[in-house]
């Protein structure tokens, strides 16, 4: 019901907002003095406040990198927790300047929702988790099983597609709240729980005994998670995209939060351009020339962000997998800075 209410509010906002901000988002953000970024409702690893109330997580740091690019200060930012149903409306109506919320880039979203996606920041895929005691080793064995999910956009559809492909049936049990969904799975209401693999890792992390559960090997969908901005604002989209690519390129070049000051003296022309020592890349986007330096100084490089929030030392314990650099067997590949 709460979701319904929020959705209605979002619809009402769209109805009533007499004129949607058509001016460049960069100017709007600069005038306001802070970036407003839409993130998840408390999802550990991606966006959740810590005990001091500071928003932590992978998605939150992506937001901070853009704030640092614009203001030279990653903390000139306001986080707006967005609901899975209203996240796009929040962006469309101008309530937020960018959306960084575990959102899968899809054709129909890009084509019909009035938004543009940036680079993929996390290559995810939908998986299934079962109790080890079930004795199942492949998702294909799950015919006739009950599967718990959240009312995700693509989650239910991917499952339907998967079972249609293997010619089986299943019972879908959909919960609005992640807590209910987890509780029902752990109580045995469903044989399996399905979500993005990163999410399954965090569900498994909160189980009484994580070793009792097994994430099945099949990845039944591609879920490239990407940040998004409103359509038809090229400049703002460039700022978001290149801030993200900067994080990735910095990892490739070995620039870290700790050594970025020394890197200013580096003789590598790529590093010199990225950190604004030579050339004027920042000015081309309407930013300060030291934007690259500011971004790394504020949040570190892509690898650091990943390890800090999602990596093997965290509760989620994810390996880099497809999110490793292209020269290390992964898909992370930033275009050149020149």
């Amino acid at each position: 019901m709460k979701q319904g209410f929020l959705a209605i509010c979002a619809a009402a906002t769209a109805l009533l907002a007499a004129s949607v901000a058509q001016a460049g988002t960069l100017d709007t953000v600069k005038d306001r003095g802070k970036l407003v970024c839409g993130v998840s409702l408390a999802t550990p690893g991606f966006a959740a406040p810590d005990d001091k109330g500071r928003m932590q997580g992978f998605d939150a740091d992506i937001c901070r990198s853009v704030a640092a690019a614009v203001f030279g200060d990653g903390d000139k930012i306001e986080f707006v927790p967005t609901n899975i149903n209203t996240r796009f409306q929040a962006l469309q109506s101008g309530e937020i300047d960018m959306l960084s919320r575990q959102t899968t880039q899809t054709f129909s979203r890009e084509a019909s929702l009035g938004l543009d996606f940036g680079p993929t920041v996390f290559y995810d895929g939908q998986g299934l988790m079962v109790a080890k005691s079930l004795g199942v080793s492949s998702a294909k064995e799950l015919t006739d099983a009950a599967i718990c999910t959240l009312p995700g956009t693509t989650t239910a559809q991917n499952l339907s597609d998967f079972f249609r492909t293997i010619g089986g049936k299943f019972e879908l049990v959909v919960f609005e709240s992640p807590d209910e969904n987890r509780a029902a799975f752990f109580a045995g209401r469903c044989e399996a729980i399905s979500s993005d693999r990163s999410d399954l890792a965090s569900i498994r992390a909160v189980a009484n005994n994580p070793d009792d559960y097994l994430v099945l090997p099949e990845t039944i969908s591609k879920e490239p998670l990407a940040p998004a901005v409103r359509q038809n604002d090229s400049n703002w989209r460039d700022i978001m995209s290149w801030s993200v690519w900067l994080l990735m390129a910095a990892e490739e070049k070995g620039i870290t939060q700790a050594n970025v000051d020394e890197m200013l003296k580096s003789q590598d022309p790529d590093i010199q351009r990225m950190l604004g020592v030579t050339d004027e890349l920042g000015a081309m986007l309407g930013l300060d020339n030291k934007w690259g330096y500011n971004v790394i100084k504020a949040v570190g490089n892509y690898g650091e962000i990943f390890e800090r929030s999602l990596g093997e030392k965290t509760r989620l314990g994810l390996t880099r997998g497809p999110n490793a650099q292209w020269n290390a067997g992964g898909l992370v590949y930033a275009p050149p800075f020149r």
Binding site: A14, A146, P151, Q157, A187, N232
Partner: protein, 382 residues
């Protein structure tokens, strides 16, 4: 300028003005919204209803497959909403009637228990009760692997109740026809017997004949072998029971939550209605030698009904709207299906418009039906 001072003319102008304002406001909203959506390149219109839904719905009262259209999926949601609220309203009313009468009992234990029941139920938000019932079901009952086999073919687990299902193998059409005819005949017989009883003052066996009219035709058909029944017995599959009739825990928890909340409101409405009937009625009926329970059934309740109907309408409207809380515990009602649709298509305004329209339409239907019934039982003043 005398007509400016005419009350009726001025009232007319005010009304026209008010309507004009509302229409203008609605038009402005509509125009701004479509303008904004067009500017943002957001698709509008209801064309998405014909697109393939692509998602599974766990509980379908009408045939549905993921390959069906989104419109069909929404219809499944509507049917689910109506199914659970209708059942909750009927069962809740019956239960509430008993609790309400018990509230008025002279037995202090019974009266106090009924009071406690009402207060406990109506002073806690329904949503919390839904969570409670649902958690109880999935925590208390064993997982489906260790389902309790209560009766042959009947299994109880935290995935719900599974029963053997009966279906007609042949002769479904004629069977349905005869059942309808039987119901019509039963109603007719009952009416005639009632008229005769009023006319003669003697009791007759109308009730028995009416029951016969209901049961006999299908029995004869079956004996003649014109229809045959098949059984769908639940089978243990690898993970869960397949076949048979499934009553899912989400449905049970929602039905329970709703019907208990309805029963608490109905109990209070019934008590108010009974207390509004003057003590003179009780005394007069007692003077005729009627037993207290017959006084209640034959004298007080029929009169109280007139006072009970209007607030009852409110209760029914509430239960219908409260069924949207289903989303919290995973019952696929209209709101849940709409949310999935909204997520898939991104067409929030259209989807919300549809479900608001459905709720409004069905609520008005309930109101009209109740008003019709109210007019029927109201005191006839000629």
């Amino acid at each position: 300028m005398s007509f400016l001072n005419d009350m009726r003319f001025r009232a007319f102008c005010y009304q026209i003005g008010a309507i004009g304002l509302v229409v203008a406001a609605a038009w402005t909203m509509f125009a701004t919204a479509s303008d904004n959506l067009a500017k943002q390149n957001i698709a509008t219109g209801f064309g998405f209803l014909a697109r393939q839904a692509g998602f599974v719905i766990s509980e379908t009262a009408i045939a549905y497959q993921p390959t069906d259209s989104i419109g069909r999926a929404i219809l499944v949601g509507i049917v689910n909403t109506v199914k659970v609220s209708l059942l909750a309203a009927i069962l809740g009313t019956v239960l509430g009637l008993f609790v309400g009468v018990a509230r008025m009992s002279r037995n202090p234990l019974l009266a106090r228990s009924a009071l406690a029941y009402v207060e406990v139920l109506r002073n806690v938000p329904l949503l919390l009760y839904l969570f409670l019932w649902y958690s109880l079901i999935i925590m208390v009952f064993p997982p489906v692997k260790q389902a309790l086999n209560i009766l042959p073919g009947v299994y109880l687990s935290n995935s719900g109740l599974v029963l053997p299902a009966v279906f007609l193998e042949s002769g479904a059409a004629i069977f349905a026809l005869l059942i309808c005819a039987g119901i019509a005949a039963a109603i007719l017989i009952r009416r005639i017997s009632q008229q005769r009883r009023v006319a003669t003052g003697k009791s007759n066996h109308g009730m028995a004949f009416a029951c016969l009219a209901l049961v006999l035709p299908p029995l004869i058909l079956w004996a003649l072998g014109l229809v045959s029944f098949g059984w769908d017995i639940p089978q243990a599959g690898r993970f869960r029971l397949t076949g048979g009739l499934h009553v899912r825990p989400e449905f049970v928890a929602l039905l329970f939550g709703l019907l208990l909340s309805v029963s608490a409101s109905v109990a209070e409405i019934v008590r108010a209605g009974i207390q509004a009937i003057g003590p003179g009625q009780w005394e007069a009926a007692a003077a005729l030698g009627l037993h207290r329970s017959r006084v209640m059934r034959l004298v007080v309740l029929p009169q109280a009904l007139r006072l009970i109907i209007p607030p009852l309408t409110n209760t029914y409207l509430t239960v219908f709207k409260n069924s949207s809380l289903a989303i919290a515990i995973g019952y696929p009602d209209l709101v849940m299906v709409s949310n999935t649709v909204m997520n898939q298509t991104g067409q929030a305004i259209e989807t919300i418009a549809i479900f608001m329209g459905v709720y409004l339409g069905l609520s008005i239907t309930i109101s009209l039906a109740m008003n019709w019934y109210n007019a029927r039982v109201a005191l006839k003043v000629r």
